[in-house]
């Protein structure tokens, strides 16, 4: 009797606590509400969100001053690493670049990672989007467009890689963890460009000619694909990549050359692609932006009227207003970060309104050799005010071409004269001046005596920080005109088409056309100069200087500004307008290509480092 009760007790205890609480295995307890790849690509909304996430890796080129946060999309580290801009904020990475003080171990602008992250995501998208059945939300056409977008983004990210690093591994599929990842190596630069070109063609076939629905602005079109293709081919044809003797012996571990021999036909290919892009764009209704008769306004508006008719493809970052804040002169209420300083070097390069360059060169003491035909006079002062400056403004800034006034803020300039700001005093960049270095130490000030005006928006108000949202233009028609002109001149000499397209640009800028009868090399210089001015602060100068192989001259030189460190000046003080060295920049041959990060080389010994690093 007793025995029975004990057995029952023991069984009861054991059963109570060890009987599975449900039919499933006791340990079969896994979270099931988490999203899987399958779910993402069978749900139209999720799939679109996945695609949107790929866009988020686009570099934030509006951000020129701040270094990116760790793991974030890269910022613009190019404008201030060449002779158009100086960032007067010491921690900015361009200052390390300009000192030559960077290496494969330490750099904050992680183009490599961001581009390859985006490429993997695009690969996953392209490999899985076929799982999505067309529906009301995602029609067949829409899905086709999405594929084209992912393909374009994959090509664009490869382009971001090659323009910085040169030859890179081409990743056109999702890499699995169990495959031999060290089998991947850098592909010759022409193979990389070929990949980008063919991807652009494929993507173009899937995309609409032009984005028409305003809600889709910011997406790439056929024209954008053609623009990328044309730019990639232009770079490929240029001296840095096309038969560069410096890289003739640059090979990978198996001896494969990473830069090919020179081929003149590459210029033809570039010209053809640019012309094709232009024709397609014009057929889609794209044209150079003009809103009226004022060439200053016409040019300035290209960069702050979002998605105007000249624009092919942008990056969007509505939360970013610092492009204005970092160019706002100190004298404006609430301003204190005048960090985007245009250089004296670019100021001197703007033409006069008559289309003649004012400065031919410099004397040993940095006084300019003035072209007497230009009408430029540095020591005079303007007797009368204009729309752009007040009376008393230095002759340096008088009678310059319209794009100068659209791009540069200088002492004497009119700034935000209308409501709501109603400033009625000239800009003053000397020490103690309204917009110059204040007397209390540690405050930010323009180290050159200039601020970048281009890309900013006149209706931005610093206090409270408010203004229209902005876009960064990756591709626009104006660039393609110059691409075509350059490539055609290189391929076939200064044909009428070369004149035509350069002059279209100059005409919009309110300048007379080029003089006829230029030699090929004269024309080359004219086009290069036109690019420097027209495309200033749009990230082109840095790469143009590289591909033309002139960076070791222009970026290994002094950057000039005015005498902003001495106090006691006023608008008519001669001593203020004297060229002073702001920075002695360092550019060595190795800097033509960025170093691949050390940690990446350690993971795969089949990757070779760029020469000199």
């Amino acid at each position: 009797m007793k025995l029975k009760s004990y057995i029952i007790l023991l069984l009861a205890v054991v059963l109570l606590f060890t009987t599975p609480s449900c039919k499933r295995d006791y340990l079969e307890k896994t979270p099931d509400e988490d999203l899987t790849l399958e779910q993402v690509f069978t749900n139209a909304i999720f799939a679109e969100q996945y695609l949107a996430n790929i866009y988020s890796h686009l570099p934030k080129e509006l951000a020129m001053v701040d270094n990116p946060c760790n793991g974030c999309a890269v910022n613009n580290t190019f404008d201030a690493a060449t002779d158009e801009l100086e960032i007067s904020y010491e921690p900015n990475f361009t200052n390390a670049m300009n000192n030559g003080n960077w290496n494969a171990d330490s750099y904050v602008q992680d183009i490599w990672s961001q581009s390859y992250f985006a490429i993997r995501k695009a690969n996953i998208f392209l490999e899985n989007i076929s799982k999505l059945a067309p529906s009301e939300i995602a029609t067949e056409d829409k899905i086709t467009n999405w594929k084209g977008e992912a393909m374009f983004l994959r090509a664009l990210n490869h382009f971001f890689l090659i323009r910085a690093y040169g030859p890179v591994p081409i990743i056109d599929r999702t890499l699995l963890l169990d495959e031999d990842l060290t089998a991947f190596k850098r592909q010759p630069i022409d193979k990389c460009v070929e990949f980008i070109v063919s991807e652009c063609d494929k993507a173009a076939a899937l995309l609409p000619l032009r984005i028409t629905a305003t809600t889709d602005y910011g997406k790439p079109s056929k024209v954008a694909c053609m623009a990328l293709k044309a730019r990639a081919l232009l770079y490929m044809a240029s001296p840095l990549w096309n038969g560069n003797p410096d890289y003739a012996s640059f090979t990978d571990k198996e001896g494969m050359r990473l830069f090919p021999d020179f081929q003149a036909a590459r210029w033809d290919a570039a010209a053809t692609a640019a012309k094709a892009c232009i024709d397609l764009a014009e057929s889609a209704g794209h044209k150079l932006h003009r809103s009226g008769a004022d060439p200053v306004k016409n040019y300035q508006e290209v960069f702050y009227i979002n998605f105007n008719e000249e624009v092919f493809f942008t990056s969007n970052d509505p939360d970013y207003l610092n492009i204005d804040a970092y160019s706002e002169p100190r004298g404006m209420p609430g301003a204190g970060w005048p960090l985007q300083n245009a250089t004296q070097n670019i100021v001197d390069d703007y033409e006069m309104a008559n289309g003649i360059r004012p400065i031919l060169g410099y004397n040993a003491d940095m006084t300019p050799i003035i072209n007497p035909l230009s009408g430029y006079n540095e020591s005079s002062q303007a007797a009368d005010a204009t729309d752009q400056y007040y009376a008393g403004t230095r002759g340096m800034y008088v009678g310059r071409e319209p794009r100068f006034y659209a791009s540069i803020n200088f002492t004497g300039a009119k700034f935000k004269t209308g409501p709501p700001q109603n400033r009625n005093t000239p800009l003053e960049f000397w020490k103690g001046g309204l917009d110059g270095r204040p007397f209390d130490a540690g405050a930010n000030f323009s180290e050159t005596g200039y601020l970048m005006k281009k890309l900013t928006n006149p209706s931005y108000v610093m206090q409270p920080k408010a203004g229209p949202i902005r876009t960064w233009i990756f591709f626009r028609l104006g660039e393609q005109y110059l691409n075509y002109a350059e490539a055609l001149n290189e391929a076939q000499g200064p044909l009428p088409d070369v004149y035509k397209y350069v002059n279209l640009i100059r005409d919009r800028a309110g300048l007379p056309g080029l003089p006829p009868g230029l030699s090929q090399s004269d024309m080359r210089e004219r086009i290069r100069h036109e690019r420097r001015i027209e495309l200033a602060f749009e990230t082109h100068r840095y790469f143009d200087a590289h591909r033309w192989k002139i960076a070791e001259k222009i970026d290994n030189a002094n950057i000039y500004g005015l005498d902003v460190l001495t106090d006691g000046y006023n608008i008519s003080s001669d001593a203020f307008y004297v060229r002073k060295v702001v920075e002695k920049r360092v550019f060595e041959k190795k800097h033509y290509l960025w170093p691949i990060q050390q940690r990446e080389l350690e993971k795969n010994r089949n990757l070779v480092q760029n020469p000199g690093w």
Binding site: V13, F17, Y26, Y116
Partner: protein, 1097 residues
């Protein structure tokens, strides 16, 4: 296993039916039946009573009620048993047959103390009885020629002829040999005879642990047991538990904490065990090798700490009262320079970079003479904020005793630990840190019948802690941030000083003016176990079951506020005083946080133990389940219960205490791993040879020599990383992108969140242990040593060899079981004990542990610089420059490899580094592995001595650690002006031994002071110090008042004692505690002077 509240009801139903019918038949219900009846009615009762109570409290309420009922039953059973035996006695006396007669008597031990539970048997028959609580017995004897055999475990049997005597007093003499043979050690899932064990287990007596006045158990065990390595980094009340590692760190990435088993149940729940009342502890053991830990399967690789709590014993109630009070002195408060020195140093830092001084000589004079304390303050904030001493009190009242049927142990503890912050008398609430803890425990054993017994253990901890509105880390940082001349203690108008940024609140305001936080910990730990002797089925067989339910509930009431602070200024010309406001006052806020954790555990097993001639065999088979739930988790993954289940078995064999063999294995699984890969098998094999039991051995000198060795595989499923790593998941709210003319259409984002690894599994440890145990001179000297080796494979690391071009973004790079480390070392314990003929007792004990780990594989790509590869180094090693000294002058700089990669201008007094790769410049490629020992000590040792004579006893114990690296690193005051000049305190040692440009720098130890130097303030050997230390961990002097005096006061014994903890420390760091983390001077650890009294009655 988790039983939802609603599930109890249907089960209670059938029980009620089953046993109510049962009780009808049984006229006099035995306690078991009563128990069942009460269980069922208890549940029904509680259902009725608690019907309106929300479900989540219901199970706890039921539990308590049932427990109360059970207690009642136990007492009834005890009463009934007593009554029955009385009745029986009466009956026997009345109707004794003529020829037989009754013999009564007493059995005592060698000191004449009564021996309850001794067996009295009539020789040649099965008739027998046992002694009662008072050692008394009564037995019916048939014939005067009959002999009575008296036996008790560990004593020689004594046989006495009955003769004509009717009362007999027998004194049993101890059989030490047999006591040794029968000495039992708690092991995983059972007990084992100590002599037959082949594993490495070390134990410490609870008496030893009680000699520390600390509320945290972990602080008392460092240096006490071979194989344990501890480090106490903080003395903050409620957060002062030391880190504990068994045989050092082994895993690079996983949890290195040992498994904690309290009363047979895994109980690491929120580190509950560190808050256990030390007085409740019966035994404390550490299981270190595979033979001991393989039964814990995928949980045992880090070693196991095995604690059992005290239980009652047959006998009269024994009441113990212990009270102790300590004066607590914070140790190693930072010694920083004063305001005058600070101003001088500030000027010097500026001069070192060619800038004009900040302070004029007149101003410096004001700092020196204190003539203008508001504008030129000189404040030692440590003195303002911290008390010189505080207090701690621990009280305990315990009762134990019992009858044959029921034994009990009840204990109540009350601990108060005060913090070291000064308070503002104007506050109506307490801001100082404080801990108040109440512990209770009741362990009840009920023998329901000859074969069946139940044990219930129940323990509760209620602790209330109080903290300032600002946490200790921030306060201590504030003290380091605030220079003596930052602001005065109070502004002239009495307001609180403040300044920009981190200096917004002064340290005093941080401590006293930011409100307070109260934390409430409610811990309930319970287990109910049953043991059933099945020897009537087959001899030596028994079965057991155990269920346990633990819950920890933590509630925080956060009442923070912001005080108003102002900076004071005075115009030097006009004398106008101004106050600039930095922060505005906010009222006391209220925020409530709650965390609840539950564990359910069940175990059932059978044991077998039998001797066949000289062949002794034991066997054990157990099944178990465990479920842990974070009830208040903030996300769906954490909210899922963590489950484990497994089978455990052990077989031991020995031949006549000479040749030992043990096989053990755990087979268990966890829900954390992919299906099909959840279960693992962890076997171990061990063997031993007791050489001293061989016939040829002469035991005169060496009375015990045992050789032992074992090898096995143990797992560690606490691998780090997130749960369910085998699942690929997508980030539901990844970054999106904006489209549209006005950039107002953001579809949102989705992206890969984690790439699942279908092979994710536990860490696997391959452990070998070889050792011997030696006892000499009748066990006066004992020595036990082990050498060990472990290879730990499968450590979970985020893959580091995946090239970035594969595109796996940060955070989605999968984890894999790729890390491998090796850990080897040795340990030993030596003990010497003797009592002289004059009654003088002395002992010496010492132990030593050395464990050195080495990274074999960390999945790092092969470094271009082989000397930067961490493979071959210890876990926690660092990269840094090798400092060669200081640049003496410009010529020295010009003649050395350029260091401009570290800092644009190098000046005299900057640290000069070695060009390791000989490329002619100093770059990050010149960093080498510095600090080869890692963050935890490789060596830990302890030794001490005890002496006792005529009621006096004295103990002193030293502990030490060695082979630990320490670095003066960032955030600490060794890096003078590392942020900017005039920011952060500066350590006196740095000031005294700094490089002075143009001075005599022969003995300089620190670089010239330069604000924000990127050359100097980076990891290098210059900042490296040895973390070795030796300290007087504790000392105690006690006096036991002679028994003849105490007896008059109806006391059994009374002892008074004085203790000291952390009395002295010898080390090479001097300025902060050598146990603290790199570069931190956290909440200081205490030195205690403790006075106490312990009385038994």
């Amino acid at each position: 296993m988790y039983v939802p509240a609603g599930r109890i009801r249907p089960i209670a139903g059938p029980w009620a039916f089953m046993f109510s019918r049962y009780t009808k038949i049984e006229q006099t219900p035995n306690p078991l039946n009563l128990l069942f009846m009460q269980f069922s009615t208890g549940f029904r009762f509680t259902d009725h009573l608690f019907g309106k109570i929300p479900g989540r409290y219901l199970s706890a309420a039921r539990f308590f009620t049932t427990y109360a009922v059970l207690l009642l039953i136990c007492s009834m059973a005890a009463l009934k048993a007593t009554a029955r035996s009385n009745a029986m006695d009466a009956g026997h006396q009345g109707s004794a047959p003529l020829r037989s007669f009754v013999v009564s008597g007493t059995v005592t031990n060698e000191t004449d103390a009564p021996l309850p539970g001794a067996t009295v048997r009539i020789k040649g028959t099965s008739k027998g009885t046992s002694t009662d609580v008072n050692g008394k017995f009564m037995i019916e004897v048939e014939h005067e020629e009959d002999s009575l055999v008296f036996s008790f475990m560990g004593y020689y049997n004594t046989t006495v002829r009955a003769g004509s005597r009717r009362t007999i007093t027998v004194k049993l003499m101890p059989d030490e040999e047999s006591q040794k043979l029968n000495e039992v050690q708690v092991v995983g899932y059972g007990t084992q005879k100590k002599i037959t064990m082949v594993g490495a287990i070390s134990s410490v007596s609870p008496r030893e642990i009680q000699k520390y006045s600390t509320p945290s158990l972990t602080n008392a065990i460092g240096g006490k047991l071979a194989g344990i390595i501890t480090r106490q980094t903080s003395g903050e009340p409620g957060y002062d538990a030391a880190k504990v590692f068994i045989r050092g760190l082994v895993s690079q990435s996983g949890n290195n904490k040992p498994l904690i088993i309290v009363d047979g149940v895994e109980r690491e729940l929120q580190d509950y065990w560190t808050t256990m009342n030390i007085q409740e502890i019966e035994s404390f053991s550490v299981l270190k090798d595979a033979a001991s830990t393989a039964v814990y399967g995928n949980r045992g690789a880090n070693g196991v700490i095995m604690i059992t709590t005290r239980r009652g014993a047959v006998g009269k109630p024994n009441v113990t009262f212990r009270t102790e009070a300590a004066i607590v002195v914070p140790m190693r408060i930072e010694d920083n320079i004063d305001g005058y020195e600070y101003a001088l140093l500030h000027n010097e830092a500026l001069a070192n970079v060619g800038e004009p001084p900040k302070f004029s000589p007149a101003e410096i004079q004001k700092y020196k003479d204190g003539s203008d304390p508001y504008l030129y303050p000189n404040v030692n904030w440590y003195d303002v904020v911290l008390k010189k001493r505080t207090r701690q009190m621990m009280n305990n009242l315990g009762v134990s005793g019992g009858t044959e049927t029921v034994q009990y142990y009840l204990n109540l503890g009350y601990t108060i630990q005060e913090g070291i912050y000064n308070e503002d008398p104007a506050n109506s609430y307490k801001t100082n840190a404080a801990l108040k803890r109440y512990n209770f425990r009741s362990n009840i054993d009920v023998k329901l019948s000859k074969r069946f017994s139940l044990a219930l253990g129940l323990s509760g901890i209620i602790s209330n802690t109080n903290f300032p509105g600002t946490d200790a880390g921030r306060i201590l940082t504030g003290l380091k941030l605030t220079a003596p001349n930052t602001y005065p203690v109070k502004n002239p108008d009495g307001s609180q000083p403040g300044a920009f940024g981190d200096l917004l609140l002064n340290p005093y305001a941080l401590t006293t003016q930011t409100g307070y936080t109260k934390q409430f910990y409610n811990t309930l730990v319970s287990n109910l176990s049953a043991k059933w002797d099945l020897s009537y089925v087959t001899r030596g067989l028994s079965a057991r079951g155990l269920v346990a339910f633990d819950v920890v509930d933590i509630t925080q009431n956060i009442r923070q506020k912001m005080p108003a602070t102002y900076s004071y200024a005075k115009d030097p010309v006009t004398g106008a005083e101004t106050y600039k406001q930095w922060s505005t006052e906010s009222p006391l806020g209220f925020r409530n946080l709650n965390e609840t954790y539950r564990t359910m555990y069940a175990q059932a097993g059978i044991d077998y133990e039998r001797a066949f001639g000289n062949h002794y065999v034991t066997g054990m088979l157990t099944a178990e389940r465990r479920e842990f739930t974070n009830v208040n988790a903030t996300n769906s993954i954490d909210n899922l219960p963590e489950r484990r289940q497994g089978l455990i078995s052990r077989l031991t064999y020995h031949y006549n205490y000479r040749y030992l063999l043990q096989l053990s294995a755990g087979y268990n699984g966890s829900e954390n791993f992919p299906k099909g890969k959840r279960y693992g098998f962890f076997p171990a094999i061990g063997a031993g040879w007791i050489v001293s039991n061989e016939k040829f051995w002469n035991k005169n000198i060496v009375n015990l020599l045992k050789l032992r060795g074992n090898y096995g595989i143990v797992g560690n499923d606490r691998i780090g990383g997130a749960r369910f790593l085998y699942q690929s998941t997508y980030n539901k709210s990844a970054t999106g992108y904006v489209f549209g003319l006005d950039q107002n259409r953001n579809p949102g984002g989705k992206s890969e969140a984690r790439i699942g690894n279908m092979n994710v599994t536990w860490e696997t440890a391959y452990k070998t242990d070889l050792g011997f145990d030696l006892e000499m001179f009748d066990s006066r000297i004992t020595l036990s040593t082990s050498v060990f080796h472990e290879r730990r494979e499968g450590q979970l690391l985020e893959r580091r060899t995946i090239p970035i071009y594969a595109g796996y973004p940060g955070g989605t790079v999968p984890f894999a079981n790729v890390g491998i480390t090796e850990n080897k070392g040795f340990e030993g314990t030596l003990q010497l004990r003797n009592t002289t003929k004059g009654g003088f007792y002395y002992s010496f004990t010492g132990n030593f542990t050395f464990a050195k780990n080495k990274i074999i594989e960390n999945d790092a790509p092969p470094s271009l610089y082989p000397y930067q590869d961490f493979r071959g180094s210890s876990i926690g090693a660092n990269l840094g420059y090798r400092a060669l000294g200081f640049f003496q002058d410009q010529r020295d700089i010009d003649n050395s490899p350029p260091q401009t990669a570290l800092q644009s201008v190098i000046r005299p007094g900057d640290i000069k580094y070695e060009d390791v790769n000989k490329d002619g410049q100093i770059t990050s490629a010149d960093r080498v592995i510095i600090g080869s020992y890692g963050s935890e000590p490789q060596i830990m040792y302890g030794f001490g001595a005890t002496a006792a004579w005529k009621g006096f006893d004295a103990t002193i114990f030293f502990t030490g650690a060695a082979h630990r690296d320490f670095f003066f690193t960032q955030g600490w005051t060794a890096w003078a002006f590392s942020g900017q000049a005039g920011y952060y305190n500066v350590m006196q040692q740095v000031y005294d031994k700094r490089f002075i440009v143009g001075g005599n720098n022969e003995h300089a130890e620190f670089p010239a002071v330069r604000a924000g130097s990127t050359n100097n303030y980076t990891g290098s050997t210059l900042w490296q110090r040895s973390g070795d230390y030796l300290r007087i961990k504790n000392a105690e002097i006690g006096y036991t008042i002679p028994v003849n005096l105490t007896k008059k006061a109806a006391l059994r014994s009374i002892r008074v004692f004085v203790q000291g903890t952390n009395l002295a420390t010898w080390d090479k760091i001097k300025v902060i505690d050598p146990e603290s983390d790199f570069g931190t001077g956290g909440y200081p650890i205490p030195r205690n002077y403790n006075f106490g009294l312990e009385a038994n009655f």
